[in-house]
């Protein structure tokens, strides 16, 4: 489904991704781990089409197409979804209006009729329960006055509404208490299916207790330095990153920079 080859990307002349290779098949869940500043979030942003980042080399094939050629909105319509680490607020635009516009943009792209307000509300109510959000939040502005946890749940709700074929989750676990983590994880697990791939960017192992990945990759200084199964994450938790040749001070520095 997703094939990344030798991907290089920079921002303002600084190279962040220095040759990423990654194969993700439908039905798989991949976790990308690594110290802060290693390029995890950049990878997520580049795949979603944030043009703050410049791709300087490499290719990304998604469902047979050259992903990097496509505009952000076209990638989304083809099924790429990014759950943001820091979802932005859009004052005055209700969640309902925002999500309905998004759902209908995707339906339109697939040649399906638009969902009317009543149909949409029915669906939105069901899904909001799934992520434990009060349906009243649908009337509030997008992320306006949301707590950190609400924002993250809202991102997962959007993934459930839009049913992407590739869901990229950028630090979806950060800032969540244990209950919220459970809710979010349940939402993500509900997304798991044979025709969908999930790419999880995370700093912590704890998320992987709830969402068990098929593969774990360690990213350091813009490259994947180690790949393995679930057990790799546990090993990282126990031993840190240094045994992989990642300087402790780099990891520490990066952590403190966070």
């Amino acid at each position: 489904m997703l094939s990344i080859k030798n991907l290089h990307a920079s921002v303002e002349g600084n190279e962040i991704l220095k040759g990423i290779d990654l194969e993700v098949k439908a039905g798989e869940v991949h976790a990308i781990m690594g110290p802060n500043g290693s390029g995890k979030s950049t990878l997520a942003q580049v795949l979603a089409g944030n043009d703050t980042f410049e791709v300087t080399a490499g290719e990304v094939i998604f469902s047979g197409d050259d992903l990097l050629e496509k505009k952000t909105e076209d990638r989304a319509r083809d099924g790429v979804f990014l759950a943001f680490q820091y979802p932005v607020e859009i004052p005055g635009v209700s969640n309902m209006q925002f999500m309905r516009t998004a759902v209908n943009a995707l339906r339109h792209h697939r040649g399906e009729p638009e969902m009317n307000a009543a149909e949409f509300m029915k669906l939105a109510r069901e899904v909001s329960k799934q992520v434990d959000l009060d349906p009243a939040f649908l009337k509030r502005g997008v992320n306006e006055g949301f707590s950190g946890g609400e924002k993250k749940r809202n991102e997962i709700m959007q993934a459930l509404m839009l049913q992407p074929s590739l869901a990229i989750l950028d630090e979806t676990d950060s800032g969540l208490d244990i209950d919220a983590l459970k809710v979010v994880s349940d939402g993500v697990n509900a997304l798991r299916s044979e025709d969908r791939a999930i790419l999880m960017v995370t700093h912590y192992q704890r998320l992987l207790d709830h969402i068990v990945p098929d593969f774990v990759h360690v990213l350091a200084d813009g490259k994947i330095v180690k790949s393995g199964g679930r057990e790799l994450a546990l090993e990282l938790e126990e031993r840190g990153y240094s045994w992989l040749g990642i300087a402790e001070d780099e990891a520490t520095e990066a952590s403190s920079a966070n």
């Binding site: 089409g49 043009d51 909105e73 979804f81 943001f84 005055g92 635009v93 925002f98 998004a102 943009a105």
Partner: protein
Amino acid sequence: MATTDQEVTELIKREYEHGFVTDIEAHSFEPGLNEDVIARLSAIKKEPEFMLEWRLNAYRRWLEMEEPDWAHLGYDKIDYNSISYYSAPKRKEDMPQSLDEVDPELLRTYEKLGIPLHEREMLAGVAVDAVFDSVSVATTFKEPLAKAGVIFCSISEAIRDYPELVQKYLGSVVPHTDNFFAGLNSAVFSDGTFVYVPKGVRCPMELSTYFRINAANTGQFERTLIIADEGSHVSYLEGCTAPMRDENQLHAAVVELIALDDAEIKYSTVQNWYPGDEHGKGGIFNFVTKRGACMGKNSKISWTQVETGSAVTWKYPSCILRGENSVGEFYSVALTHNYQQADTGTKMIHLGKNTSSTIISKGISAGRSSNVYRGLVKFGPRAEGARNFTECDSLLIGDRCGAHTFPYIESLNKSAVVEHEATTSKVSDEQMFLCRQRGIDPERAVSMIVNGFCKEVFKELPMEFAVEAGKLLEVSLEGSVG
């Protein structure tokens, strides 16, 4: 986000949709202004003697007045002698009695604008007094209004048929001495709307006028007078579009509202005159004086405006709160892009006890435009317990536009309370990225974000207007963001 900037710029470039010229033979005066022109104008309109006197007085005074230059605006000086002061669509005999008699070319023009009179008539239940250039050509729903005792006609008719009301109220809120443009309008106003709602009557429908500037080089000088007698209620909608032109066209309208005891007037405007092209060429110069007087106790005047058009806008719909407990409101969305300039806001003059006013202003600047909020809140010595709340928000799209806020507060009464809030924000790259990542077109995203920003004002608009206003913003924004 260079790409987004570029995309936005592309979007902004979309041409003015309403830029077409209706081919109707116009009966126009040669350019130029003198007492003879005014006399001819008054004669064509079959006005009574008092009106000609009134106009000439205003004209003589106007000659001594100077064009104001305090606004944050820059434009080439207007040559008032290069303007034609009368233009009317040619008509066979008298005024058409029904839509069937209206020039089909004109009706097609309205259809192109998406405001077919037929549909409006049937679906919206709105009486439309359509002003095409300078003369009212179609008025609908006169009968149900007449049954309620509401007078809704062109100001020219009112001058002939209701001279007492006109003499009593015309110029009572905006005297011809008020300012340069009001003076000019008083001398040469071509046509406009007159509304009188009698005591205790709630106007059975929303009244609406569509203004449209058409003939080349023609100044348009609308005059609107709305009187709500004791305990009455009326909602009035004004909307405008204009065909594309190279020459700047001057528009200097005057609107006067009078609310007596316990009366309420709601005045809503959607203004979409030609703003000029993307290089700042052409476009309407819009110098408008709009003012309402809450004369009676517990009266209320509410202005809601959505301003997206004109090359230059100079407009301050205001309220004089004379009656005890009277209420003034101003809700405004002003959007500028390309080289548009807007200097707009309001004046709330608190004279009576316990008067209150609310100002919500939303300015949106895109392209290289300049958008100014200028507001005055004044409390007279007898305005015991008066209060005002002002909220001025500016939204910037891109980094080449400007937003300025000039709030003035003058208080001669210690018990008066003023609250003022102001914010400036940008349509951010992050917001755009979020929308696009969810599959939403950049153009749709900008429009959605801007509509969200304007929500507080849009909810004040009558339903059908709110929809139109949303669409208008979408067309007018035609891209923008950075």
